[in-house]
Subunit: 257 residues, 2 copies
């Protein structure tokens, strides 16, 4: 039985400025069935406080300690190793690094920088990597569903570009890093085998969760989902569902709840 | 014997606004020894007429028909297939595509766009690729030696990013495309086995030429060369030389000229 349910946020709970239809109800049903819930987001265009504010405004009763972002893991790594962050992130995310002491040699930190992915910033980061700095990837998603309802480039392609040019191997902090999934599951006191993931990214959310040892991975056909995604990556989803509400209902039915 | 000698341009004949010391003399020695010369450049930050002007101003007696750029090959492909170019190139290069009739579906053409590699242009090209447009790479070099004497990002990393995001397979027109080397050699009436390449890019120039069947590939330690480049890529160079003058002298000595 999936005692813990991990949910992706953008494309699953909300899309742009609106809640995905049925998503608030899906969360309530999970709570009512006694499931523990964790949200795992690779979104790095905004700080966690804004994500929390949006979830609250849209009617999701989710607490900050239930939401996992790659930034916290990256900050802990910087703190532990004493590296100073060389940021290639969205301007809105910079505040999350302002208390980072650093002082040591630079580490290049790449998030979904959006318009900050200009040639000059890319080249500056490349030159720091060439001097031997480590490359920290807050996420390596290929694409995301943009506000205009079309797919846009996420951080992954730009990290791939820096890796190709510098030969630096990125250290990943977001999904599909197995440690990211396991840390979220562990916070509920469950094992990965007692957990399931629901996401719209067949590669990063679903294949990632299954590779990390979770019992099930549900792919929803909202957000960035495109026809054929269910067979595009390995491992393939346990099941696909129209949206998060259908995924939750199937998951609970599967468990006999 | 290498009857035909192919030369890379930037980093071999000139660097920034100056001729590489000895490079004019190297060219004269090749001519005096009866060798045919072709220049193969992947530089796509400026049109061919400007490259020709620079070579002339620096004292190289090189004719336009001796210089091969990827643009001509890409234009021929566009003409043949009827695609319209969706350009992601340096603004200075756009003039070379102005007579392209097109009219058919778009093909994304990527050169070393420099500052035009902004997020908006990258995302626009990505969306065209997602609709099924082919991806034409004028060159896929990782880096080049910039005017400030440091390495900078070339077109390759950005093409890799677009490929990663869209799953489009790039069609390459510059080095190391074997057809590019072979067309240049064929223009002299020689076979690849009668030709040698001299370049500063161990991957694109040297390994590329050897993979295309040329008899020899000389790596020069000017331009973008970095310690260890001679063992970084396969096939490895036939020999390395301090600069193009030393490479030419060794090549001619090898041939008993």
């Amino acid at each position: 039985m999936a005692q813990t349910v991990l949910l992706d946020v953008s494309g699953v709970l909300y899309q742009g400025s609106r809640a995905v239809p049925g998503a608030v109800q899906a969360l309530s049903r999970l709570r009512a069935a006694g499931r523990q819930v964790r949200c795992l987001t690779n979104s790095t265009r905004q700080p966690k406080r804004r994500i929390m504010g949006k979830l609250r405004d849209l009617g999701f009763g989710i607490q900050p300690e239930e939401v996992f972002t790659p930034v916290a893991a990256a900050l802990a790594w910087l703190e532990r190793t004493g590296h100073s962050p060389h940021l290639l992130v969205h301007p809105a995310l910079e505040e999350e690094f302002q208390d980072c002491k650093g002082g040591g040699p630079p580490a290049v930190v790449v998030g979904d920088a959006g318009p900050a992915f200009c040639y000059e910033n890319m080249n500056r980061a490349f030159r720091v990597l060439l001097e031997g700095a480590p490359l920290l990837a807050l996420a390596d998603n290929r694409v995301f569903m943009d506000e205009d309802g079309r797919l846009s480039l996420d951080a992954g392609p730009f990290i791939k570009a820096l890796e190709f040019a510098s030969a630096a191997k990125p250290k990943l902090f977001g999904k599909p890093d197995p440690e990211f999934f396991r840390a979220a599951v562990a916070s509920t006191g469950c094992s990965p085998q007692q957990a399931a993931m629901i996401g719209d990214d067949a590669e990063s959310d679903v294949a990632g969760a299954l590779a990390a040892g979770l019992a099930a991975g549900y792919l929803v056909r909202t957000g960035k989902y495109r026809d054929g995604d269910e067979t595009r990556f390995d491992p393939q989803p346990t099941a696909t569902a129209a949206d998060v509400l259908e995924a939750v209902d199937r998951l609970l039915a599967q468990d006999g709840a």
